[in-house]
């Protein structure tokens, strides 16, 4: 079974499960008794384990397995949820994410065993058992009772086994006896037995089995077999593990008393001695046989289907070398980016495509049939209109397919805020809204980092410590809001906090001391301009560099990242009351409605989304403010931008009296672009200029016109 084809699904689903674990564990921290949450966590961990096992990611499987154990104990009420446990669980999730990253980039989980974490988990388990001794003892007692008559008590020990047991007891391990009853309907008893062996060996060491391991493997037993196990883990865990194998009727067990057994042993000593050696070799054999099969264990365990495990084994081991081969050939990320698409969206796409074909066929038949020019013309026009509506709808549908809710990105933030809270020693709460807002997949993928920066910023710089907040009469717990909503053709994401706000004066001083601006310049700058200095590279006002923020790499990265997505970021702040960061992103990236204009002899496209109005003005309307051209348009003073100057367009400077001005808007600011001629509105497909052209900031891309010519798209936002 080659599993590589499932890699994408695996990665997608693992991400989902990890996310759900993150969210649920956060819930658990708030409400440690919620049974639904615990069940949800258990399910997610269990599926994770199964998936990792099936894919052959053993380290990942081990870790999830131990996590699952903890969750199952919590579910059974044997362990109480405590703060340090939550911390460890979160660390585990981080480790799992690391595995996932490795898998995503190289199809291999990496070599980190995360042993400390596994030890911690086991400590929780054993600690938990010790903490609830009453319950555990009760269970044990009952188990021992009904297992008193169980077959494992009849197991006899050889000398070497006794030595092993004594040694183990000295080391503080426990010795248990188990009898496993296989369902009578079970067809492949040996396979089930093998799975039980594997399950038990994951927790401890099997020293004796009855019948012998070889006989069990050859299916030479009735419906039950017994084993003696050395282990650190509590008995019920081992029982549960064994019980988890399909088609196992029941498992009984108890603490094995070597003293009691030895009496019996004596009786059989002579027989045992002869068998002793045989037993040893057999044990080694089974061990050797088991190692390659190890990977398959959890996978098989998961499948409740009655798949014969024995038949799968060779397949699983053949998958392993296949994977290794693959590993060598691929060093690039092995997984393409995918979008999960609602089948309904695909159906509507399919419908549109069929309409497109119908339209094409009609056009063909018109051109074939026509004898009357007039008739052809009107039929053509009709079809073209039809075609237009189909393509518009098709565009919309394809866009919708590319849209994903930002949920996938923002989901991880509550966890981050929780961690920050601990790290910074501040109390804060994150409120989110609009997680269902949809954005293009490419944008959603990129928006995570900038948002994270802004949230960290808000947590570190924005919010004050609890004491300061109290002095100021604010609630001790600071609040950070993350709101997303759609606004026309844009999506707005706001990060706001009720912290101290930005100290404009201190930013100004800092800018002056760092020679970013001169004191004279500072005099003339508005507060807003000064706040915008924060977006310059290497400008951090944090007094001390913390782990969280303050390295001066935050805000300029945020800005450039968002601008790369043709979005913009803005900040509003009120000193003492908090600040709001607003990210404005275009809904779609690929196709836009644009106004085509002519400047000189060049054609440019301006996105319709940023155009407010188009005005005809005369020379006389132009006024001067600070030696800059402005016009007074219905009471608003709007600066004029001569596109020919700005874009170095060679043009005869004619004393044109009448000017065509395209008024564009960015937020609440306006500007007038002076163009020579308007061509009209058009739907354009945005193409990138490629990476060899070092970005001209006024140009956001290019498009190909109907006549095959390339026209550049003006980024009106960059003109301000």
């Amino acid at each position: 079974m080659d599993v590589s084809q499932y890699l994408e699904i695996f990665i997608d689903e693992t991400k989902e499960h990890l996310q759900s674990l993150n969210t649920q564990i956060l819930n658990l921290e708030q409400d440690s008794e919620n049974a639904d949450t615990i069940n949800e966590i258990f399910r997610a961990a269990h599926s994770l384990k199964g998936m990792a096992g099936t894919m052959g990611y053993k380290r990942m499987q081990n870790l999830t397995h131990d996590m699952e154990n903890v969750f199952s104990e919590v579910r059974n009420g044997n362990i109480k949820v405590r703060a340090n446990m939550i911390d460890i669980l979160f660390q585990c999730l981080d480790a799992l994410e690391e595995y996932l990253d490795n898998i995503q980039s190289s199809a291999d989980e990496g070599t980190n065993d995360n042993e400390p974490l596994i030890r911690e988990l086991n400590r929780i388990l054993t600690g938990g058992a010790a903490e609830a001794p009453g319950k555990a003892a009760e269970q044990k007692a009952s188990v021992t009772e009904d297992s008193a008559s169980a077959a494992w008590t009849g197991i006899t020990l050889g000398e070497s086994e006794k030595v092993v047991i004594d040694k183990a007891l000295e080391e503080g391990k426990k010795v248990y006896g188990l009898t496993v009853y296989v369902q009578e309907s079970c067809i492949l008893k040996a396979a089930r037995a093998f799975l039980v062996f594997k399950a038990v060996e994951s927790l401890g060491e099997i020293i004796v089995s009855h019948p012998s391991a070889q006989d069990i493997e050859d299916e030479k037993f009735e419906n039950d077999f017994s084993i003696i196990v050395l282990s650190d883990s509590p008995l019920d865990q081992i029982l549960k593990e064994a019980q988890a194998v399909s088609e196992i009727e029941k498992v009984v067990g108890g603490v094995f008393d070597p003293g009691a057994a030895s009496g019996k042993t004596a009786e059989h000593e002579e027989i045992r001695e002869t068998e002793d050696k045989k037993e040893h070799t057999v044990k080694e054999e089974t061990k050797a046989a088991e190692t390659p099969k190890a990977e398959e264990k959890a996978g098989a365990e998961e499948r409740s289907a009655q798949m014969p495990a024995v038949q799968e084994t060779p397949a699983a081991s053949s998958a392993a070398p296949a994977r290794q081969e693959k590993k060598q050939t691929t060093n690039k990320p092995v997984v393409n980016r995918t979008v999960r698409v609602d089948i309904e969206k695909l159906d509507s796409l399919m419908n549109l495509v069929s309409e497109l074909i119908i339209a094409k066929n009609s056009l063909v038949s018109i051109s074939a049939s026509g004898d009357n020019d007039m008739a052809i013309n009107s039929a053509f026009n009709e079809q073209i209109e039809y075609l237009e509506s189909v393509t518009t709808n098709l565009h919309e549908s394809v866009m919708k397919v590319r849209m994903v809710p930002i949920e996938s990105v923002v989901q991880k933030f509550p966890r981050m805020i929780r961690d920050l809270q601990k790290k910074l020693g501040k109390k804060m709460e994150l409120y989110m809204s609009g997680e269902e807002t949809e954005l293009d997949r490419t944008v959603v993928d990129e928006i995570g980092d900038p948002l994270m920066h802004l949230l960290r910023n808000a947590a570190d710089h924005g919010l004050e410590s609890a004491e300061v907040r109290k002095e100021k009469g604010k609630p001790a717990v600071g609040s950070i809001h993350l709101d997303a909503y759609q606004d026309g053709n844009n999506v707005i994401i706001e990060v706001s906090d009720d912290g101290g706000g930005i100290n404009v004066e201190s930013v100004k001083q800092k800018a002056i001391t760092r020679n970013v601006i001169t004191p004279e310049q500072a005099e003339n700058m508005s507060d807003k301009d000064i706040v915008n200095l924060l977006f310059l590279p290497s400008f951090s006002t944090a007094e001390k560099v913390t782990d969280v923020s303050g390295r001066g790499v935050g805000l300029d990265v945020v800005k450039s990242k968002i601008e790369a997505l043709s979005g913009e970021v803005d900040v509003k702040t009120k000193f003492g009351e908090g600040s709001t960061w607003t990210i404005r992103l275009p809904l779609t990236l690929a196709i836009i409605q644009a106004l085509m204009v002519v400047v000189g002899d060049e054609k440019y496209a301006i996105s319709l989304g940023s155009i407010e109005t188009i005005e005809n003005i005369t020379d006389k309307d132009i006024k001067y403010v600070q030696a800059k051209e402005v016009i007074n348009l219905r009471g608003a003073v709007i600066p004029l931008i001569r596109l020919d100057d700005m874009l170095d367009i060679r043009k005869e400077k004619g004393g044109d009296e009448n000017l065509v001005v395209v008024i564009v808007r960015k937020g609440d600011k306006q500007a007038g672009l002076v163009v020579d001629e308007l061509i009209g509105q058009q739907e354009i497909v945005i193409k990138s200029l490629g990476k060899y052209i070092n970005k001209c900031k006024f140009i956001s891309g290019a498009t190909i016109l109907g006549d095959g010519e390339v026209a550049l798209i003006l980024d009106a936002n960059a003109m301000f």
């Binding site: 170095d648 367009i649 490629g690 060899y692 070092n694 001209c696 290019a702 010519e709 390339v710 550049l712």
Partner: protein, 165 residues
Amino acid sequence: MDLLKMNTEQMMDPDEDEYVAPQITQFIVVRFGEEQYGIDIKYVDNIVRMQHITRVPKVSDHIKGVINLRGEVVPVMSVRLKMNLEEDVETKATRIIILKLEQHCNIGILVDEVKEVVNLEESQIERVSYEAKDDKSNFIYGIGKYDGGLISLLDLNTVIVEKEN
């Protein structure tokens, strides 16, 4: 057969400039002014006739603009300007060679004329040292000798890549 194999190997690893092939490398011989230059054929995606180039404002001088290459927008640069030669003069022979140095990332270069394709053995290529500091030689990694004379072999990576000043 061997040649084919070699070529595909090279294609898979375009970064490896120093690939020492015992076999033959193919070069497209182009002309800038009086000089002949060679472009390793493995980087050449296409050769197209001169067409309208849309100027892009505010970019380096040697970027002439962008063209429409079958629905893709491809930047075009002038190697002449990059090498500090006089500006291109458009003639009937002028061609745009579309280079593909990386996946999904084409760039066109203007040449005065495309002359022929030559096969050069390693022994016919003389590597130049980088002692010569003048601008032009920085873009050349070797000199090829063949019947038609000498051709300077362009080191496309340095030609294409924007040097940070």
